[in-house]
Symmetry: C2
Subunit: 251 residues, 2 copies
DNA sequence: CAGTGGTCTAGACCACCAC
DNA sequence: TGGTGGTCTAGACCACTGC
């Protein structure tokens, strides 16, 4: 690699990144204002703004309009797929396991629990026809009042109709314990992971900075006879999470 | 959701996205130039440029400086973790499995194969001390001459020293077959997945557009007695890949 | 109300590509 | 050589925050 004659805004982003790493701007503190940085570095404010845009996309700073630009603090959260679903009976739902592990306060906002026709993605995941009735459970999970995840779960309506799955609190063992009581023991999981830019709704709900990508996880739970009984779609800000998977070699 | 008074550049990005989806700008074709769009839409060129920046981050267009902005074509590639490593003996290395599945031409550029001291990340993954000798195999994988992945594999030096792992072509069955011949049967895998912005080197090597995120996968292969015998770090452009994982519930 | 960041413009200069 | 996108500036107006 010979040379990378970087643009000014990239160099400024590097500089600010180094200052943050070096503790000049400690976690939680505000960066100097854009006019200040503009004066200090001898560039226009637009250029400073653009540099800060890179830091935002990296998840290093959060901007509060009218107030300033602040260095981020939240630690990364480990989502260990195998462990997550194996620990169902810890009382907390699967969704809260990771947050509890970090000794953070967690809570869940249910935004919708009800009957709805299956979309194409849901129908495909649950081996139903588009438009078939399903139970949907939409929720947003928080750690220390910061949104960390959107999770929408779907169940075939004929399964969920008269079950506790229609309540926010599904009881000890969570939804998989209820499915088991209905004769649907879950023995296998699959997940398809995408990385992409969030939709406007997702960006708002997760309070994301401009340019920050999300993980989009399509999760399916299977019974021993290979029937899909739950489909869940999770949207997670990339900068907050590490996904861990583990599997045995089938040979 | 009441209102989202979008900025002009966001609206223009939406407009262009719709036109691409609607076939007005078909795959592979060039968008109108920025001055043209600027005139058509009655905004400054900077605003058009910023809108196109959003499309670039989403992976919808590729810009060739001096030539124009082009609609992307490459399909998404499925990386089925379980299958990927189970199909070792298909002759092709694990890295080429997914590309071959899509009937695309694939090739691999080895950029380095040699001895090196373990970095912190490598040492942690292989349960070695920082600075211990390891064999590194660095490569970039291509589909149709487009870079699709960076993969750096590491092996403890005492294992790899006199093995075919030091050659580019590791022979039938690939590296895991060679490890098995050395008494290191791999029976289990773990992967930690991050989503982040690429480094400058990665952006160059993968020919990424500005603002495009990558998957960063730390892959470890384990023997039956829980010894890590291979660590591999993969960097994949998010917009090109879907990661698939599958596991049995350990209860 | 003063200060913050968000956005937009017109104009400019540059590196790069294709002809 | 003309057209493309990349970058930068000075100035402006706005919405929002916190006092």
């Amino acid at each position: 690699m010979i040379q990378t004659p970087k643009s000014q805004y990239e160099q400024i982003a590097d500089l600010l990144r180094d200052r943050i790493a070096g503790g000049v701007y400690p976690p939680g503190s505000a960066l100097p204002s854009e006019p200040e940085l503009s004066a200090e570095l001898g560039v226009s404010r637009v250029t400073v703004n653009r540099a800060i845009g890179l830091l935002r996309a990296m998840g290093m700073v959060r901007v509060r309009r009218g107030a300033g630009t602040f260095v981020r603090t939240l630690p990364t959260i480990l989502r260990d797929a195998r462990r997550r679903y194996a620990q169902r009976d810890r009382g907390t739902g699967a969704g809260a396991v990771e947050i509890a592990d970090l000794d953070l306060r967690s809570h869940t906002d249910y935004t919708e629990i009800g009957r709805t026709p299956a979309t194409a993605a849901v129908a495909r995941a649950l081996a139903l026809a588009v438009g078939d009735e399903v139970l949907v459970r939409r929720r947003i999970l928080f750690a220390e009042d910061e949104p960390t995840q959107i999770a929408d779960s779907y169940y075939p309506w004929y399964l969920a109709e008269d079950s506790p799955l229609r309540q926010a609190d599904t009881g000890v063992g969570g939804s998989y314990a209820r499915l088991a009581e209905m004769g649907c023991d879950v023995v296998r999981f699959t997940e398809d992971v995408h990385g992409r830019m969030p939709t406007d709704r997702e960006r708002t709900a997760l309070r994301l900075e401009a340019g920050q990508p999300v993980f989009d996880i399509a999760h399916v739970a299977w019974t021993a006879d290979s029937r899909p009984v739950e489909a869940a779609f999770h949207v997670l800000p990339c900068h907050l999470w590490t996904l861990r998977y583990e599997w045995d070699d089938p040979r």
